[in-house]
C-alpha cells in the first residue's frame, strides 16, 4: 500500500529537493569516477569560465560560506588542478585559476556530467528541459519579497 504523497507533492520545496536528489545521484557518478568531489566540480566549472576569481568571489557566486571552501581549494591545489597567485591589486586576496591539467580534466568531466543529467531527465523533451531550467533560475535570481 503506497502512501498518499499528494499533499507533499503540492509543495514546491519538496519537489525541488526530490528532483535535485534524483539528478544528483546520476551526475555524481562521472564526478567521483574522475577523482573529484561535488564541490570541487562546481568550483572548477566556475574557474574555467572565470579565471582569476578570489575565494570570496566564488563564495558569492555559489552561495556558500568562506570557511567551507578552504579545504576544497587546498585539495584542488594539492592535486595540481588549481593554482593560487597573489592578487595583483589586493594583497589580502588570492587569485585562483585552473592549471592546464585542471582545464583538461574539467572539460571532460563537464561533458560527462551533462550526459548524466540528460539520462536523469530522459523523460522530458528538450523544450520541457529548457522550460524547467528557466523557471528554476528565476526563483533564485529574482529576489523574494521578504
Amino acid at each position: 500500500m503506497p502512501a498518499d504523497l499528494h499533499a507533499l507533492q503540492e509543495l514546491i520545496g519538496y519537489n525541488c529537493r526530490r528532483a535535485y536528489l534524483a539528478v544528483r545521484d546520476q551526475a555524481i557518478k562521472p564526478i567521483v569516477e574522475n577523482g573529484l568531489q561535488r564541490t570541487w566540480f562546481t568550483v572548477m566549472v566556475l574557474l574555467h569560465r572565470n579565471p582569476g576569481l578570489s575565494s570570496r568571489e566564488i563564495c558569492w557566486a555559489l552561495g556558500v560560506q568562506p570557511p567551507n571552501l578552504v579545504a576544497s581549494i587546498a585539495s584542488l591545489e594539492e592535486h595540481g588542478l588549481v593554482e593560487r597567485r597573489p592578487h595583483s591589486e589586493d594583497g589580502r586576496s588570492l587569485s585562483l585559476r585552473l592549471t592546464a591539467a585542471g582545464r583538461r580534466l574539467i572539460t571532460r568531466v563537464e561533458r560527462e556530467v551533462e550526459r548524466a543529467e540528460l539520462r536523469a531527465t530522459a523523460m522530458l523533451s528538450d523544450e520541457e528541459r529548457d522550460t524547467l531550467t528557466d523557471l528554476l533560475r528565476r526563483i533564485y535570481t529574482e529576489p523574494p519579497v521578504d
Copy 2:
C-alpha cells in the same frame, strides 16, 4: 564584477539545488516559528493524510534511511504530536498517527508554509508554478534509464 555563471546555470542539478535553497529559506520560517524541525514537518504532513503508517513506510515515501528517522519520531512523541501504537497485524511494526494536538498544529503550519512558498515564488504565475511542479515531479517519479 559578477562572475559568469552561465556554465553552471546550464546544469539542471545546479538550478534545482539553488531554487530548492531559495524556497527552503522562506518555508523554514513558519516551521521553526511553530517549534518544528523540517523533518518533523514532512513526517507530520505525511501522517496527516496517511494515519497508521509505519516508520519503514515513511522511509520509503520520503527516501530516507530508517536510522535517520528514529530521533525525529521519538521527539515528535515526546512533544505529544505523534503517538505509536502496536501494529494490528505485524508485531514488529509500530503504527504511527498524529495526536489531536498534532493535527491542529500541522493544519496551521501547512497553511503558513504554502503561503511562504507562494512568496518565495512570487515571480512566477500560477500556471508557471503548476508547470514547474509537474516537471519536477516527473523527474523523481519516472525512474531513470540506468
